[in-house]
């Protein structure tokens, strides 16, 4: 655990300092946060787990892809695991770019690909005491190869 996957509450400030850059005019930050309902069912909290070493590798690769495919100047992605309360961020994605169009596109790519490729699972805990793993996306060996990348 470390740079990409952590059990600690996520904080934006260190990521902004790491990526501080006077050559960028746009800074996009995406936070995924724990929502209080899913498909109409009241949610109480969320537990995240990961295949940590592989997830760190995938997020590191995603950062590089955002820089290369979208002409971003910096990209940092961090995902939390463990038990999260409502409203807490599960993931933060920071993209800095010279111009804003690249920042929006790169940030969107990062979260869309993360959801397809990062070996991370969430288990919703409901207000009624029940819990369940959410249906997910089967991992594909070819995911993320340049020739198959999404637009």
């Amino acid at each position: 655990m470390g740079r990409w996957i952590t059990e600690e509450p996520l904080a934006l400030e260190p990521l902004l300092q790491e990526t501080d850059d006077h050559g960028s005019g746009a800074l996009l930050v995406f936070y995924g946060t724990v929502r209080n309902t899913n498909e109409g069912r009241p949610v109480k909290s969320m537990a995240y787990e990961a295949h940590i070493s592989m997830a760190e590798k995938v997020l590191r690769e995603l950062e590089q892809e955002v820089i290369e495919k979208f002409n971003a100047r910096h990209c940092r992605i961090i995902h939390r695991i463990g038990h999260l309360a409502l409203g807490e961020p599960s993931v933060i994605i920071v993209v800095r770019s010279a111009h804003r169009a690249d920042g929006y596109a790169g940030s969107r790519y990062a979260i869309d690909e993360l959801k397809q490729r990062a070996p991370i699972w969430k288990e919703e805990h409901y207000a009624d005491g029940d819990s369940q793993y959410l249906d997910g996306v089967p991992l594909r060996k070819s995911a993320g190869k340049p020739e198959q990348a999404k637009e």
């Binding site: 995240y48 295949h51 397809q116 990062a118 070996p119 699972w121 089967p138 060996k141």
Partner: protein, 82 residues
């Protein structure tokens, strides 16, 4: 030979264990053969295995990949991060 299987997410929940050691009679054996043996030993997993990804050393591998004694084979159900 012995293979260490590591289960994640709903697989871990259904199996009731995070790790399971498989003692395979054939050596070498493929990932496919190991997973087949796992389904026989833990029937609760059988229905899940169609959508599982096989991972060795942080890389997704084919079912035809050859396993060696002591390998760690991670089984990853469909992912839901973010």
């Amino acid at each position: 030979m012995k293979i260490n299987v590591i289960l994640y997410g709903v697989l871990k929940q259904d199996a009731g264990v995070k790790r399971h050691t498989l003692d395979l009679s054939s050596d070498p054996a493929t990932v496919r053969a190991a997973v087949s043996e796992l389904a026989a030993q833990i029937p609760a997993l059988a229905a899940r295995l169609e959508t599982v990804a096989y991972v060795i050393d942080d890389e997704i591998v084919d079912p035809d990949t050859i396993l060696h004694d002591g390998d760690q084979l991670a089984l990853l159900p469909p992912v839901s991060g973010g």
